[in-house]
């Protein structure tokens, strides 16, 4: 049952309603609701342990919330597996880069196309006939991503040998290879220097502009969040404390308290 509606730009792509997530007695997320609109860059911010990554994991079906509902492209869902989320157009990158270290940049990004490959195992085994044609087509798409992310020079380099900033870029490339409708980025700029951060910002904005991808990202660097995102959700101890435009969120007293501490 895969019949999904097409969502127009600016309409609701994903809706999270009253979601709560517990691990035993530990409450990771409590009664959080927000929406992600098609085509926007949506940031999820909050102090350490606020439940941001858990939230992403709920969205792409890795965790199953005890309460609440998620509506994606107009369809409610409760339990779902990550590969189903992937086939429905949700791609993500991880806080700690999760690439195949021994494989080249090219191969890592090709992996992102595997869901789109339809030829039979038999042909793939011999790299012949339909499998060959398919591979050429996918390779072309991957080359476009390589061009887009300006990583031609590391095409044939095993990713384990690459500096961290480039690994992050390759990971973004793999997510883009899935042609996602919704792209989840978990701290895309963690551990980067200023120049790498600026490059990454540019790639994220270009992705939104060129491919029309909706992006939800977790980020700690407030400057980056304010520059990049259209709307921001702020979590603290698993509870939503603010939601709105970057400027509105920045002026919110609760947010200031959460980040700077409260005078007692």
């Amino acid at each position: 049952m895969q019949s999904m509606i097409e969502v127009e730009r600016g309409a609701e792509l994903l809706k999270v309603e009253n979601v709560s997530l517990r691990f035993g007695g530990v409450k990771a997320i409590t009664d959080v609701s927000f929406t992600i609109l098609k085509g926007e860059v949506r940031a999820i911010i909050g102090p350490n342990g606020a439940g941001k990554t858990s939230m992403l994991n709920v969205i792409n079906g890795f965790y199953h919330p005890q309460e609440g509902e998620i509506t994606y492209r107009g369809q409610k869902r409760s339990r779902m597996r990550p590969h189903v989320a992937a086939s429905q157009g949700i791609a993500r990158t991880f806080q700690n880069v999760a690439l195949f270290k021994g494989m080249t940049t090219l191969d890592n990004i090709m992996v992102g196309r595997s869901l789109k490959m339809t030829s039979r195992f038999f042909w793939q085994m011999f790299r012949h006939g339909p499998a060959m044609r398919e591979e050429i087509e996918h390779r072309k798409f991957v080359e476009e991503i390589i061009d887009f992310l300006e990583i031609e020079h590391i095409r044939k380099v095993p990713v384990g040998k690459l500096p961290y900033g480039l690994q992050k870029r390759v990971e973004l490339g793999r997510a883009l290879a899935m042609e996602p409708e919704l792209l989840l980025l978990d701290e895309p700029m963690a551990g980067m220097n200023l120049e790498e951060k600026e490059d990454m910002c540019r790639f994220i904005l270009d992705t939104a502009a060129q491919y029309g991808t909706t992006i939800a990202l977790i980020e700690h660097d407030m400057g980056v969040v304010m520059d990049l995102s259209d709307r921001v959700v702020v979590l603290e101890y698993g509870i939503k404390i603010a939601d709105g435009t970057p400027d509105a969120v920045k002026a919110n007293q609760k947010v200031i308290d959460a980040y700077l501490g409260v005078g007692h």
């Binding site: 390589i146 887009f148 300006e150 020079h153 120049e195 270009d206 502009a209």
Partner: protein
């Protein structure tokens, strides 16, 4: 095969048409795009340029207009140059990494009316300073990414201009006639291109070159090095630099060989390997970084490979240059060298993308003798040339078989050289410039009364007729005691150590010579790794006591060598310091061609220079730095100053 075109072919558009007639199906240009090499034959390229020219004429580009060309080495930018010249307009290539203000100066000075650029980055730069460029009408771009929402009255895609031109070719025979008339009407005395110098001293100047001069010079060197249409070059040098315009653009149009454009500047090394270039040019630092990479990788190789490498490097050192120069070599040594070629040199050249290279040049800076002999010993025909933008590159070049590392060769064909009384090198060359654009005063300063051009370099001829350059003529000075002081000479000696990237020497009118040193992060970083020295940043590594000790040993070694040279014995370095940051063109410390701007550095780091001479052990410094996006920040540091070991002067002949 000698179809080096006749004298009637005195402009580049005529040459292009000629090549399309003579070798229509030979590849003229290749470009790696999306991982695949695309190729254009001479006929295809000539046709595209005609379409492009009609399109540009329809957009108002007219004879005499100046058109800026900005970006990496890409076919469409080379075509832009050919197209602009076809119309009778003048291309003005500009360094692509120039920041917006620098670019604004050049574009305004050149009175640019149009610009053909690579991508959004360049478009943004130009539009941000458009108000300073009075006559700017329209910018044409190659890569559309990110430019969709820009105002089409200010920017246009090169692709769509070419398409428009193709349509016009069918629809408007009058326009085609006008284009043909423009091409036919061009003569050798026309202004062909304006190349802005990198500005080692102050503002860059626009060097005007004539079409006929460019082509005559290129014909001479094409014959000199026997270049044919079977040759291949990789175009990775900045378009705005005379080296690219000469070695790639002019020589390709004269000889009909293939220009290969890399996928991106970072992939040039791999791409060179894929196309198998036959004619290569690189500044010494490129050869140096290649050698550094090899040595680092050999350190990590297994012991058998390492043993084999070092043994055969010994063999190469002894016999390689002789084999290359076809001098007598004993049979056994020749056989052993051949085995080495199979086991070591061949694979090495393959990794470097140098397997098919017949002629390789280096120029721009002095090259270390060890470095130079290394490449020659493994069988690469590396030669030196000496030249200038004002000469349209070549002044001297070494002929096959007569190579030495410390000289730059005799005058190239049809070039006349004279040494002035003060040691300055003067020349006349077939490609020599018409003058500086809008700067008759500077032009007059550069010419002698009898029509020779001053190079600004001091040098002399060795006994075998090769020219030896020692320094910039105006930089050659004297110490307080009157001894000769040639800063570049000392700097180069130090820079021959792989650990040292850049040196700035001081001493004019002082008691002794001192210097700033920049370490090479790749080489020293690797050394630190092997010696388990941890560091967090360039600054920390540069200030590490063991790094200081290592550099001190290098300085002492140079002093020992200097002590043995009669002219230079007084030039020993007495004190030095290692700078806390890398000298950078963005901060104005280097020129865009990576040459040190000595006086600017002396001013900027005045407290450090003072510390070199007042005996202080350390000094504080804070400097403004420019980030890649043009924002500014401040770096502060406390820098150690160290005394160097000096040697007694061994030669009997004391400098006065």
């Amino acid at each position: 095969m000698t179809d080096i075109a006749t004298a009637e072919l005195d402009t580049f558009p005529k040459l292009l048409a000629h090549q399309a007639r003579v070798r229509p199906l030979r590849p003229a240009m290749r470009h790696k795009d999306l991982g695949i090499w695309r190729q254009w034959t001479w006929a295809e390229m000539a046709m595209t340029v005609r379409h492009y020219a009609l399109g540009l004429m329809a957009h108002g580009v007219a004879a005499g207009d100046k058109v800026a060309i900005i970006g990496n080495n890409r076919p469409k930018l080379y075509w832009s140059m050919m197209t602009v010249q076809s119309i009778g307009a003048v291309p003005v290539p500009v360094y692509a990494d120039a920041v917006a203000e620098e670019m604004a100066y050049v574009l305004a000075h050149a009175e640019v009316r149009f610009a053909c650029v690579q991508d959004q980055e360049q478009v943004d730069k130009i539009l941000s300073v458009a108000d300073q460029i009075a006559g700017l009408m329209l910018v044409f771009y190659d890569e559309p990414r990110g430019l969709r929402d820009y105002d089409p009255s200010r920017i246009q895609a090169i692709d769509s201009v070419i398409d428009q031109g193709a349509a016009l070719m069918l629809a408007d025979p009058e326009a085609v006639k006008r284009l043909d008339a423009a091409i036919e009407g061009g003569t050798g005395s026309d202004l062909s291109v304006i190349l802005y110098t990198s500005g080692t001293t102050g503002r860059s100047k626009g060097v005007m070159l004539s079409a006929g001069g460019c082509i005559n010079a290129a014909r001479d060197t094409v014959a000199f090095d026997n270049l044919t249409d079977r040759d291949n070059v990789i175009a990775y040098l900045p378009l705005a630099w005379v080296g690219d315009h000469y070695l790639n653009y002019a020589q390709a149009l004269v000889a009909g060989f293939t220009i290969n454009c890399p996928e991106s500047p970072e992939t040039a090394a791999d791409d060179r390997r894929e196309v198998g270039t036959t004619f290569a040019f690189a500044p010494p630092r490129v050869y140096e970084s290649m050698l550094t990479r090899i040595m680092i990788r050999m350190e990590d190789a297994g012991w058998l490979k390492r043993k084999m490498f070092h043994y055969y490097m010994g063999v190469a050192k002894k016999w390689g240059a002789k084999v290359l120069d076809q001098k007598p070599v004993p049979l056994l040594a020749r056989l052993n060298y051949a085995l080495g070629e199979m086991l070591v040199y061949g694979p090495l050249k393959n990794v470097l993308g140098m397997t098919k290279v017949r002629v390789a040049y280096t120029a721009g800076e002095a090259i270390g003798p060890e470095l130079f002999s290394f490449y020659r010993s493994i069988g690469l025909n590396l030669k030196q040339l000496y030249g200038q933008t004002e000469a349209f590159l070549y002044v001297t070049a070494q002929a096959d078989g007569a190579i030495r590392p410390d000289c730059v060769g005799p005058a190239t064909p049809n070039v006349r050289i004279r040494i002035a009384g003060d040691g300055e090198v003067l020349y006349q060359s077939p490609g020599q410039f018409i003058g500086y654009f809008k700067d008759a005063e500077k032009t007059a300063e550069t010419m002698t009364e009898d029509g020779y051009i001053r190079t600004g370099d001091a040098g002399f001829f060795e006994k075998d007729g090769q020219l030896r350059i020692i320094d910039r003529a105006k930089d050659v000075g004297k110490l307080k005691n009157g001894a000769l002081y040639a800063p570049k000479y000392i700097e180069n000696k130090l820079k021959f150590f792989p650990n040292i990237r850049e040196v700035v020497a001081f001493g004019q009118g002082e008691d002794c010579i001192t210097c700033f040193i920049n370490i090479d992060l790749t080489a020293v970083g690797n050394w630190a790794e092997r010696n388990t020295i941890s560091y967090g940043s360039y600054q920390e590594l540069a200030g590490h006591p063991e790094v200081y000790a290592m550099i001190a040993a290098h300085v002492a070694e140079v002093n020992r060598q200097l002590a043995e040279e009669p002219m230079m014995a007084q030039s020993q370095v007495h004190r030095f310091l290692i700078l806390h940051k890398e000298l950078d063109a963005d901060d104005g410390e280097l020129t865009r061609t990576q040459k040190v701007r000595r006086s600017f550095i002396a001013e900027r780091y005045a407290p450090l220079v003072a510390a070199l001479y007042n005996g202080a052990e350390e000094a504080d410094i804070s400097t403004e730095v420019t980030f890649e996006d043009g924002r500014k920040g401040v770096i502060s540091a406390r820098v150690k100053v160290m005394d160097a070991k000096t040697y007694p002067i061994t030669s009997l002949q004391h400098a006065a």
